[in-house]
C-alpha cells in the first residue's frame, strides 16, 4: 500500500480571508510577532500497490481533477 500527502493552498494572489482571521486572532491570545497566516488543506491518500511513478501520476491527476481548483489553488504532492 502506498500513502501520499497532497497539500492544497490558495495561490498567493488570492485573498485568504480565513487565514487573515486566524492571524488577527493570534495576537489577542498573546501570540505576538505573527506576520502572516495562510490556511490550506491536507489530504492523506492511500492507494493499492507501491508508491511508484505510476501511482504518483494517478494521485497527481486526482489532485488536478478534484482536490485542487487550479483557478485559485496550487498543490504539492509527496509520497510518505
Amino acid at each position: 500500500m502506498a500513502r501520499f500527502i497532497v497539500e492544497v493552498m490558495l495561490k498567493p494572489e488570492i485573498l485568504d480571508s480565513q487565514g487573515q482571521a486566524v492571524a488577527r486572532a493570534l495576537p489577542r491570545l498573546g501570540f505576538e510577532g505573527v506576520t502572516q497566516v495562510r490556511q490550506g488543506k491536507r489530504f492523506e491518500i492511500e492507494v493499492e500497490g507501491p508508491a511508484d511513478e505510476a501511482a504518483t501520476e494517478r494521485v497527481r491527476k486526482m489532485a488536478e481533477t478534484l482536490l485542487a481548483n487550479p483557478v485559485i489553488e496550487t498543490f504539492e504532492l509527496r509520497a510518505e
Binding site: L10, E13, I14, L15, S17, Q18, A21, L66, L67, N69, V71, I72
Partner: protein, 225 residues
C-alpha cells in the same frame, strides 16, 4: 406549446422548488431533473439552483460538478443550451469551467443574507433580455462563498467584452472583485449569478418582483426561437 425549463436537484440543493416556481410564473413548464440521471429530458434551458450541494464539502460546487447529469449539461451548454446558475449553481458553473474564475469564502467570513441593489449591465444574454441596460433592481443575496475571484487577465477580458452581467451597488456583500454579482460565457447562453432572482418573483414573498425578468427573458427567447 410552452417552453420546458429544467431545474437540476443535487443532494443539498435548497432553492430548486423556488426556481421551478419562478419558471411557472414566467409561463413556462418547469421540469425536475435529478443529478444522478444521464438525460436532460429534452429541456429547452436549465437552471442550476442555489443551496449547498454535497454540503459544500471540499469546495462549493466541486463535487456536484462531477454528477452524471453535469457531463451532459456541460456538452449541451457548449452547444448553446441556455443555462442559469444561481448562487451554488454559479459555483458549479465555475468549477465546471463553463464560466471563468471561482467563488471563495465571503471576505467578512459571515453568511450574508440581505436585499441587494444590483445593476444589470449586459442585456444581451439569454437570461437578461427583458431588462434595460443599466437597470437597477433589488434581489436578495444569501451566500457563504460568494466572493468572485479571477486573475487580472480574465477580469480584464470580462470587463472589456461586456461579460459582467450584474454588479453590486451600495454595498459589496462578499468582497467580489470589481463588485461582480454575475457573469456570462462568451456566447451569452451561460449565466452565473450570486444573488437569487427566484426569490424576487412575487410580491407576497419577495422584496421585489424584479427577479422575474431572468426567467421571462429565457422563455421569450425560447418561444421566439
Amino acid at each position: 406549446m410552452s417552453a420546458r425549463v429544467g431545474v437540476i436537484t443535487f443532494p443539498g440543493s435548497l432553492d430548486d422548488r423556488d426556481a421551478a416556481r419562478a419558471v411557472r410564473l414566467a409561463d413556462a413548464e418547469p421540469v425536475s431533473l435529478w443529478h444522478a440521471e444521464g438525460d436532460l429530458l429534452g429541456v429547452d434551458a436549465v437552471i442550476l439552483p442555489g443551496g449547498f450541494s454535497y454540503g459544500d464539502y471540499l469546495r462549493a460546487g466541486a463535487i456536484a460538478r462531477f454528477a452524471p447529469l453535469m457531463e451532459k449539461l456541460v456538452a449541451a451548454a457548449r452547444d448553446g443550451l441556455p443555462v442559469l446558475g444561481i448562487c451554488n449553481g454559479f459555483q458549479v458553473l465555475c468549477e465546471s469551467h463553463l464560466l471563468p474564475g471561482a467563488l471563495t469564502r465571503n471576505v467578512g467570513l459571515h453568511f450574508v443574507c440581505r436585499a441587494q441593489r444590483l445593476r444589470i449591465e449586459n442585456v444581451e444574454t439569454a437570461w437578461t433580455s427583458d431588462y434595460e441596460e443599466g437597470q437597477e433592481v433589488v434581489i436578495p443575496v444569501k451566500n457563504m462563498d460568494g466572493c468572485y475571484v479571477a486573475d487580472e487577465e480574465t477580469l480584464e477580458e470580462l470587463e472589456s467584452s461586456g461579460r459582467i452581467v450584474a454588479r453590486y451597488l451600495d454595498v459589496n456583500p462578499n468582497g467580489s472583485l470589481n463588485d461582480i454579482a454575475g457573469i456570462c460565457n462568451e456566447a451569452g447562453n451561460v449565466v452565473g449569478l450570486m444573488p437569487h432572482p427566484e426569490h424576487a418573483v412575487e410580491a407576497l414573498t419577495g422584496t421585489s418582483t424584479e427577479g422575474l425578468g431572468f426567467f421571462t427573458s429565457v422563455v421569450k427567447k425560447l418561444v421566439h426561437a
